[in-house]
Symmetry: C2
Subunit: 183 residues, 2 copies
Amino acid sequence: MDQKKKTIAIDMDGVIADTVAHFVEWYARDSGVRLSRKVFERKAEKDALPGNAVRKYVVSPGFFRTAPVMPGAREALLELSKDFEIYIVSAAMEFPQSLSEKYDWLAEHFEFISWRNIVFCGDKSVIGTDYMIDDHVKNLDFFRGVPILYTSEHNLDIVRHTRVNNWAEAISFLKKKPADPII
Amino acid sequence: MDQKKKTIAIDMDGVIADTVAHFVEWYARDSGVRLSRKVFERKAEKDALPGNAVRKYVVSPGFFRTAPVMPGAREALLELSKDFEIYIVSAAMEFPQSLSEKYDWLAEHFEFISWRNIVFCGDKSVIGTDYMIDDHVKNLDFFRGVPILYTSEHNLDIVRHTRVNNWAEAISFLKKKPADPII
């Protein structure tokens, strides 16, 4: 890695992969009912769909492999790669069938990310990057660098971390120079 | 994780998996010639066997899944788990077919290690544990915690890190209290 660049750990699900859209899509396919993604607001993801569907989908072969890319994520990571060393850090270990699917998904949609910069883990507390962009506070709360909360339906009420609502805001935050005025 | 415990990142190949023994075994099976593991001494592992066999084996399905456990490793990790939070950290991303094999290997031989404590990565420079036990200096040289070099045939000439020759020595080093006399 280039030692001069600051490092960013970037989460996959809910950050560069639009898993909520994918849950809604699979549920519509299976039930014939197209729900709004608002059903995911302010609750644990696993409880958002009827019939334990979320838990069923995350262990289903193909779910992670076919998730849509989060709007703007590819362009944002290409842009950030110029100034930062980017690591994709996914808590994939809970769903071991997802390991190869997530590897292949990254190779398809983010082919400019080297295998050297991919981390699949369980607990993210071992990650020692300068920044972390994640939608789950459990990953950000004990992070020793600068935590950045990426907005997802389930985290709308969280106020204890810097929040970015989309990739344009993430770039704006990360590319702000320390000497820039705050207001 | 238990925040009171110090954390250790422990490598797989050459540290808890005896990959050199496994290379020798597969080469004997394929060639009929049983080489001494001394052929791995003081050279890059990939150059140790004739006919590029090492490179062939590391991309062969089943190689990592069937590697023997390093003598004493299971007992040592059980012992160390009492006082440390142990993370298995393997640079598995270079060989994506190894991801599920390494997961299954750990589940078989180190069933007491939770999925929360497994990390598969490329570049280990993002790992922020207190200790790291590894046989490759490329992983230890830029580590910000305490690096510990686990002896392997390829690293016999390295003198710039604390060396342990086997798991008994690793336990002895790690369980030495800071207040213990050095000599």
